[in-house]
Every structure is written in C-alpha cells, then in structure tokens.
Amino acid sequence: MAKRIQSLTTLTPTATADTTNLVDATYHGVIQGGSGTQRINIIEVYQGGQAGASSPTIMLLSRDSTVAVTVSNGAGLMDAALDAATAALAAAPVTGNTTTTKPQRSSTLHLLNLSFNAFGGIVRWVAAPGEEPSLVGNTASLGEISLSAFTGGTPGLMGSHIVYEPL
C-alpha cells in the first residue's frame, strides 16, 4: 500500500509504568488500525537525542493493553505519507499522542527495547522486508502499538519517527 511516517519534532517523554495511562503529549505516540480488519506493519523506528545533559532514557515499542480513543496529534507530532503520490486511504490509520481514553502499555507484549542516552545518543531499528511486526484491527491487545518511556533512567529531550505501512 503506502508507507507513512509518524514523526515527532521534539519532546521530553515521561517515564510511565506498564498498564498505566500514558498522559497526553508525554510519549512519542500510538498507531492504531483504521478499521477492525486493517493490518499495519512497523518498518522502522528512529530516536535521536536532543538533551543538554546525560539522560538515560528507556524507550519501549510495545502493544497496548488499553487502546486510545479520540486520538489527535500533540505539538510537534505529525503523520505523513512518504510518497508524494500516495492516495488517501479509505480507512486511514489512527495516530497521535493526545486522546480522551488514554492508552496503556501492555505489561506482557513489549516488542522492542530502544533504550538510549538522549544526550547525543542515536538509536535506529529497521525490520527486514517481510519480517515487520504488525498490528491488526483497532482493539486491544493487537490493534495498537505505542512508543513510550518506561520507568527508570531520566528521560531527556528527543526527536523520533516511526515508519509504517498500512496494508
């Protein structure tokens, strides 16, 4: 279909425990299926540190055990097609980091730990073609993925993006 990118200009994430509400605009964001059957593949995750002092930051790409409702983008977060010729999807994926019902990270379905030091650190993960982790539908626990900070460390200012592809 069409690859898209959810990018965050700059934000200091708040360390949040599993199965706890992710407060608006304190995490990178969620990606949720645009319909009950939509499948989305996660292709790449990048994080670049912007902090001015040492900031060990524990970032988790994880499925959510409570999915967000009424999702919109907070400051600095945007979602765009990678290809300029991409046509609008019939069921657009739901993305953002500001919600009414807050998402909660699953305590058992973490997908990838991307810890880094936000003072000058860079972390990038890319999936092999055909081996991308995916989400399906828009209900817990397989219908939403989030990138957020876990408890511990001292999260620092960072920018990040997730490349994904709705199928």
Binding site: S35, G36, T37, R39, G49, S54, P56, I58, L61, L109, H110, L111, L112, N113, S115, F116, N117, F119, G120, G121, I122, V123, R124, W125, V126, A127, A128, G130, E131, E132, P133, S134, V136, G137, L142, F150, G152, G153
Partner: protein
Amino acid sequence: MKAKRSNEGYLFLDHRDSPGLPDALTHATGPELPLGIGRGLFEAPTITCSHCQAIVIVNPLRNRDRGYCSKCDHYVCDTCNAIRIANGGACKTFNQIIAEVQEAAAQSESIKEL
C-alpha cells in the same frame, strides 16, 4: 533457498558522542545482551519472532542454540521456544493469529449488516 540471515533486521545504537548507558541499565532492560553495548557504537542484527513478533536483539556472544521452529521455518524467541517445546513442537505463527482476527472482524461486520 532463502538464507535465515535475510530475515534479520538491523539495530544501530550510537553513543560515540554521548556518555552512553550504564551497564546496570542495559542489563536490566536486556539481560541477554553483552555488557558494554551502551557505550560507543553497537550494531546488531535482530530477529522477529515468528510466533509473537517480539523483536530479539541478537547477542553476538551467545553460544546456546536459538529457538527455531521447523514448521514455519523461522527463529522464535526464547519464551515462544519454551512454549513450543512444552506443546510438542506446536506452531502457531502471528500471521495465523492476524488472519483469525481479521476473519472474526469480517464475520462480525457481516452479522451487523444482516
């Protein structure tokens, strides 16, 4: 025949211009990984578990065999490998789970239309 290495993703962790991560933190978040990965440049292949889609950072110093499911011809994470062995080698890939979720959602929508 497709090589297993063609299924590997790539992790790039660059702390060359950063104080990096203390070993205590990297060990707490990834106990299977070698010490020192939080300093300097660490690059490693990753494996996506065929059964749960957890992404495993390949420890270059590991000596034990990795979990492998011959039925889906993929590496699996240690947790899923233990389950697989306990269940006599049963294989249920995440793609099968996705197909079931999509089928159930499609059936549910069909019932609503009726």
